[in-house]
């Protein structure tokens, strides 16, 4: 199963890249500002959040602007991945019903599209950090494993949602509601681990991978702190295991998807 996965990944790698590029282009093809939106949109959102939460609700976090940008970009990535995946087979019906392709390739394409957007947001965070004079330490290298876990975890969940999304018509509604709940529990505009009284703040952070990953990312990028490495290892192992299960599940059932849509 794993060797087949690696073979298919290689075989469809170029398609993944081209299809991701194509989807990105298609998204902005009809607007006047074109790709400028990729930069403009996160900047505008950041300002809105900064005004609403910083001024109106008076949320106080050190380096509030990059604090928000990091949270929002990682959350948007996760949020878009989940929402895309539930209906991914239906959206790609025209392809899925006419030619065989390993269905996780569709998830790869979304990872490419949403990942690209997240990277642009991160660039904005970096610019904000430079302007605000944030100093960084060697711990910044931990950005890479955190991103890796984020991608793995999203891939795994996307595979499951893709699979069940084909059969369970109501899943989309359920996912929307769950995402709303998780959104508030994740602490995009505040720090869960610091704002919610102990021990609940820590527990909520560690049990929710998105909260943990965002918290860890902020620690290494903004506060020169070492995140809880044990939790990182645990989430890495869980994500890896879930990814494997997701691949097995999708491989076993993918050719029946067409029958249901």
């Amino acid at each position: 199963m794993l060797s087949k996965f690696i073979r298919d990944t290689k075989k469809y790698f170029k398609y993944t890249v081209e299809a991701s590029k194509a989807s990105l282009m298609a998204e902005v093809a009809n607007s006047y500002l074109n790709w400028v939106w990729w930069i403009l949109q996160p900047i505008c959102f950041t300002f809105i959040y900064a005004i609403v939460f910083g001024l109106v609700f008076n949320t106080k976090e050190e380096y509030f602007i990059p604090f928000i940008v990091i949270g929002v970009s990682m959350w948007d990535f996760f949020n878009n991945m989940m929402k895309n995946s539930v209906k991914i087979i239906r959206t790609n019906k025209s392809i899925v019903s006419k030619v065989y392709l390993p269905k996780f390739v569709l998830v790869f394409v979304r990872l490419g599209v949403n990942g690209f957007k997240m990277m642009i947001s991160f660039l904005i965070a970096v610019v904000a950090m430079i302007i605000m004079g944030v100093t960084v330490s060697w711990r910044i290298v931990l950005v890479l494993p955190i991103l890796l876990i984020l991608v793995l975890f999203n891939f795994a969940f996307s595979c499951f949602l893709m699979h069940f999304g084909v059969y369970v018509a109501d899943l989309q509604n359920i996912v929307d509601i769950v995402l709303k709940l998780v959104f508030y529990a994740t602490g995009i505009f505040y720090s869960v681990s610091r704002r919610i009284p102990a021990p609940w703040g820590k527990i909520l952070t560690y049990c929710n991978p998105m909260a943990y990953l965002i918290d860890a990312m902020r620690d290494v990028m903004l506060y020169q702190k070492l995140p809880n490495m044990w939790m990182m290892l645990i989430w890495f192992v869980i994500s890896l295991a879930l990814s494997y299960l997701g691949i097995v599940l999708v491989y076993k059932n993918e050719n029946s998807y067409v029958k249901s849509i």
Binding site: A22, M25, A29, V99, V168, D170, K259
Partner: protein, 242 residues
């Protein structure tokens, strides 16, 4: 017997007529007891030699298209197997899904990659596809601006020019206007008569079948009725249908 290009063994395909289930329905009815399974293909087997042209006949809803999709690897059979003996295959239907926001040219590249061609191979053939499709300057316009005729012309051109070893044709011998119809029919014929190419055609057009095919498979409600040379099968089929 020559080299076998396509081998289908005891193929069974069923699907649920109740398409997706909703949580509400299930809670109310206690686990989908109203699932009706439709048996689309029931135990079809045949082996097709390389270079031969197989025609599949049968009345509407007898499982022809389902079987074609299963041979193309899009549908999983419930039991039985399809062995392509390592040949590349494409289903010539109304195009590999287009992305409507992208131009025709970009869609050629994406479709080609999905059919298993490398970027270089596609680039080499792109000009030929554009010329064949007669789309001219429209090739760089988004596909959503195409008329349905242009849409199918492009789709046909992609599958016709990017040739695979085995071609499956689902009743699309005529697309576009009268002139393009003629041209596409000629192209089909040229593709089909290539000695190395194995072709499976689903059609209701007796004339097409008689002139193009070597062998005919007749299925009725998913059951295999007859399989043999067209001279034997077609007269019996016509008799049955009239």
């Amino acid at each position: 017997m020559g080299e076998i290009a396509l081998e289908v063994k005891d193929l069974y395909i069923t699907y649920n007529s109740m398409k997706t289930y909703s949580v509400k329905k299930n809670i109310l009815k206690l686990k989908g007891s109203d699932k009706t399974r439709i048996e689309a293909v029931k135990g079809v087997s045949f082996a097709l030699e390389k270079g031969k042209i197989l025609g599949i006949v049968g009345k509407n809803g007898s499982g022809k298209s389902t079987m074609l999709k299963s041979i193309a690897g899009i549908f999983a059979p419930d039991s039985g197997s399809v062995d392509l003996h390592g040949h590349s295959i494409s289903l010539m239907s109304i195009g590999v899904g287009f992305n409507n926001e992208l131009s025709g040219r970009e869609n050629i590249a994406l479709s080609g990659m999905l059919l298993g061609f490398s970027k270089e191979e596609i680039e080499k053939k792109t000009q030929e596809i554009i010329e064949f499709s007669e789309l001219g300057k429209f090739i760089d316009a988004p596909v959503r601006t195409y008329s349905s005729g242009m849409h199918s012309k492009l789709a046909f051109s992609i599958t016709a020019i990017l040739e695979t070893d085995i071609i499956l044709v689902d009743e699309v011998l005529s697309v576009g206007d009268a002139k393009f119809k003629k041209k596409s029919y000629a192209k089909m014929k040229e593709l089909i008569s290539d000695e190395d190419r194995t072709v499976v055609i689903v059609s209701h057009n007796m004339e097409t079948l008689r002139s193009l095919c070597d062998i005919i498979l007749w299925i009725n409600d998913g059951d295999m009725v007859m399989y043999g040379p067209k001279e034997e099968v077609l007269p019996k089929y016509e008799e049955y249908m009239s």
